[in-house]
Amino acid sequence: MTAEASPVLAIRDYSLAYHVAERKAEVLKSVNLSIARGEILGLVGESGSGKSSLASAIMRYLPRNAEENSGDIFLGQTDLRAQSQRAMSDIRGSRISMVFQDPATSLNPTLRLGEQLAEVLIRHQGMSKAQAWREGEERLALVGLKTPAEMMHRFPHEVSGGEKQRVVIATAFACNPELIIFDEPTTALDVITARQILDLFTELQAKTGVASLYISHDLALLSQTAQRVAVLEKGTIVEEGETAALFRAPSHPYTRALIDAVPHPERSLAEASVNASSGPLVKIRDVSVHYGRKSLFDSLLRRDFKGVAGNRAISLDIRQGEILGIVGESGSGKSTLAKAMTGLNRFEGLIEFDGRPLRGLSDMNRDYRREVQIIFQNPDASLNPRQKISEILARPIKLYGSKGHATVRDRIEAMLERVRLPRSFIDRYPHQLSGGEKQRIAIARAFLSSPRLVICDEITSALDVSVQASVTELLMELHRETNATYVFITHDINLVRQIAHRIAVMYRGELVEVVDSKAITDPDRAPYTRELLAAVTPPASTRLDAILS
């Protein structure tokens, strides 16, 4: 009973601040947390809430400009704050381990997977090299890899993302630690792979009884995995409690806002389906995209050249005024198609836009460029950091000519108001804006040319849940105002079911099917569509509703 009473991890009254340019930025404010043996504590918060700083504080791996208060961090009976760096390096990996978000960057690309796994065993368990290698193979079998012996000899680039994350998890579990910190371990993975990794995690967790701190921004996911959830807002834990109770009756307004912001497929935002009789705006016929280029050397030697296929003979109609969602895993060719339609990729085949045929990039004249606009995923990358908002937004006006007698500046300010941003932003640089504000600027840039087709390429996936909801709302509002046709590319199936009229499913460069978004759950859908839907975590409250009813 005493073992039950003393938690594996206990954080008491812990605060953390960073010194930035002679100011103190507080990241964590008197945090209290405890995790018992065998428990999964979910830590949820938006970007900048201090989730990762908390993980670093537990791992005792803080940057030099960090300043802590007198709070405690205990691992069992060990006071982690009293440990020297040397003692900590014995604890890390053996008593606490960590699984990071992106397995592609957390594994060393120049070392074999086996070496990276065996190293932990040699370092902490004092095994010989041969012993560690054998043990490593067993561990890899444990995380569900089918050919562990072969896997040990491979380099990270030779295996898939899911397999890499399995190796990282095997490494984390290698020394039977007391505590494992998971920092968004499935965010960088595809829906189906993420589901498999999650299943593996719950299975291993149940088997080993390790205490876990599961950091995520995905409420739906936490509602399925964690027993208790703590909500972190700007460094303060605003609410903590049993998962079911917390989702059923959130007491703090922030938690409620977070839960409400999650997209629900049932709550449709799109208006009643568009008039199907109006002809298609875009007809895509047998469009294929190949990457790579025949080199001069190859053509000299008359060698055959085969590019990598990004799209294979896609045929698709996009109706006037509709919102067409395109879903699929990464690498399924969603973005490739978007790039072909906006003239960023060479393509073979025919795209017909409003009756005008386009067979290649040279057919895309200024009118086409004006009428078809693309908004990219990451506003940090799509806005030039060296240009002011005024210059960024003036370009479409200057390129396509301004209508009426309003000055360029007036039109930009009017547009800023339409995307719900203050007029004063016109003289700012992108880095002075938040992520959501930047994405609004990118949306404003697209709509300044009064386009008829807007391609949204994963535009909400780099944003926090609550910001995501407001950006989606803005897009729907602009849709009602302008009646522009949208192509909405995303991997978030809950979101796309909420806003799209029709959904196109893509897999490995091919179009699987196009279905009405209401009919996507029908049992007679293509097998891949069903697999994709099964992997999606339903939004937290829906699931709880189902449990309660």
Binding site: L296, T342, L344, Q373, Q377, N378
Partner: protein, 274 residues
């Protein structure tokens, strides 16, 4: 800007580099006015004088005051070196960024040409240009600019290749911008930081290359006060009065070191992550 200066002055290289460059710049700007004697005033009675209270750095074979000549020569030597580097860098940066933007065959063609030019040592190339165009300071400047452009093109291309993949460039292409706008307004401002650092380091090479050309008689012509030319002329009197050679050599070395240090400081200041 103030934040940037503070970061620059925080490193020892930055402070030292700035100090040296400030001294050199004062000589460049005010050198002509503060000279105690005219740079070409000959004093028949004061030839080969060692440094003393009247002639701080001594006099040369014609009795000209060396300090005056050094101060006067700062303008041509340093200003020309900076100008040559600037022209070479700008040409190289535009070429490299443009090449990265065009990609494919055009990129291949430009870069292989650049490789071919780079295979010729820069001094040899400069000699070639000067001997073709005739020897004077402006041709030497052009020669150095041409000699510097290829390696700058390589550096800026490698940076521009990563910028090329950014979505803001894709966005510009998708809205149908011209190549000129994309290269000059979208890409170049984002590749400028490493280029500025490289440029400051290059300035010291240019000072030495200028000195070498003048030394070989292909740059400035006597009685100009170019530092390289002064070294070249002083060579014959090395055994009789070494200071005639020493001071201009020291001035060249100091300037080169100053720009090198400034370049190191800038590299750290422009990259806040390090």
């Amino acid at each position: 800007m103030i934040d940037f200066l503070r970061r620059l002055l925080r490193t020892p290289q930055g402070i030292l580099g700035c100090l040296i460059i400030a001294v050199v710049l004062i000589a460049v700007v005010a050198g002509g006015w503060v000279t105690p004697y005219g740079p070409e005033d000959m004093q028949a009675l004061a030839r080969y004088k060692a440094p003393s209270a009247t002639h701080w750095l001594g006099t040369d074979q014609y009795g000209r005051d060396i300090l005056s000549r050094l101060l006067d020569g700062a303008r041509s030597t340093v200003a020309m070196a900076v100008l040559a580097t600037f022209i070479g860098t700008l040409a190289g940066a535009v070429l490299g960024t443009g090449s990265a933007y065009l990609g494919g065959r055009a990129d291949e063609f430009i870069m292989r040409t650049v490789d071919a030019v780079m295979a010729i040592p820069s001094l040899l190339l400069a000699l070639l240009v000067v001997s073709l165009l005739g020897s004077n300071s402006w041709n030497a400047l052009l020669a150095i600019a041409i000699a510097f452009a290829p390696s700058m093109a390589r550096i800026s291309r490698s940076v521009a290749l990563t910028v090329r993949k950014q979505d803001y460039v894709s966005a510009a292409i998708a809205r149908g911008e011209g190549a000129g706008y994309i290269v000059l307004r979208e890409m170049l401002p984002n590749v400028i930081a490493p280029i500025v650092v490289e440029m400051t380091i290059r300035v010291s090479f240019a000072v030495m290359l200028f000195a070498t050309l003048s030394f070989l008689g292909l740059g400035a012509q006597p009685p100009a006060t170019d530092w390289g030319l002064m070294v070249s002329e002083a060579r014959q009197y090395l055994h009789r009065s070494y200071w005639i050679l020493l001071w201009p050599s020291a001035a060249i070395a100091l300037t080169a070191i100053g720009f090198n240090l400034l370049g190191d400081g800038l590299r750290d200041a422009l990259n806040p992550r390090t």
